[in-house]
């Protein structure tokens, strides 16, 4: 009984996960771009001196995780450079 219930619980859970995975949602890039826009819209009146293009770049960089703020170039064994 308990085994059957547990099995059913896992089937339901797996179904829910599959549904969640296949559900249409904005791509991360879209979500991030919207977040940058929202923050810029809120901040722009507070920093009128800053050029809107610069503000977008600054906000974008500040919202990125540290690891993505800097681009590191590394040399592969074949001598090519990759980001």
């Amino acid at each position: 009984m308990l085994a059957g219930w547990t099995q059913r619980k896992w089937v339901v859970k797996a179904g829910a996960v599959a549904a969640w995975k296949s559900a249409p949602r904005p791509r991360d890039a879209e979500r991030f771009a919207r977040k940058v826009e929202d923050v810029c819209r809120e901040l722009a009146p507070q920093v009128p001196r800053i050029d809107p293009g610069d503000l977008r770049l600054i906000v974008r960089c500040l919202l990125l995780p540290h690891e993505r703020r800097a681009v590191f170039v590394t040399r592969r064994q074949d001598g090519r450079y990759v980001f």
């Binding site: 901040l43 920093v47 610069d54 503000l55 600054i58 500040l62 540290h66 040399r75």
Partner: protein, 140 residues
């Protein structure tokens, strides 16, 4: 990094602080001790670079170059703006990059050192660093 106690300064620190700038080298501030000199030599070996050598006769700044994507510049004990290793280190932020934890100088310290150095390349980047600082404060 051979357990070298160093603080990332300069524009690499600006980038890691969220400023939209680029750079062609990595600047490190290191306390000048025999142990650190040994660690720097080992670090140079590990990254496949040259042994640390002086930028000029008059300067105590050294660099590691060679077959590296970017050279590493090493500043010992202090940088422009009267900033000592201890003071910069005390305000630095620990940042995880590629499995390593780096001490990154505060943006205010980078700005102060660039204001004091006042070279054309410093003056060129200062406006965007100041703007970043202002936006960062608003977001905090």
């Amino acid at each position: 990094m051979a357990r070298l106690e160093a603080v990332v300064i300069g524009n690499s620190a600006s980038m890691l602080n969220g400023a939209p700038v680029t750079t062609q080298d990595i600047d490190l501030l290191v306390r000048d001790t025999k142990a650190n000199r040994r660690k720097l030599a080992r670090f140079a070996e590990e990254i496949g670079g040259s042994s640390p050598r002086r930028v000029s006769e008059l300067s105590n700044v050294e660099y590691i170059d060679g077959d590296l994507a970017v050279p590493v510049e090493i500043h010992f004990n202090r940088i422009a703006g009267g900033l000592t290793f201890s003071s910069v280190r005390s305000r630095a932020q620990l940042v995880a990059v590629g499995g390593e934890k780096l001490a990154v100088a505060a943006l205010a310290d980078v700005i102060r050192s660039k204001e004091a150095a006042n070279r054309p390349k410093d003056r060129a980047v200062l406006p965007i660093l100041r703007d970043t600082m202002e936006v960062k404060k608003k977001l905090e």
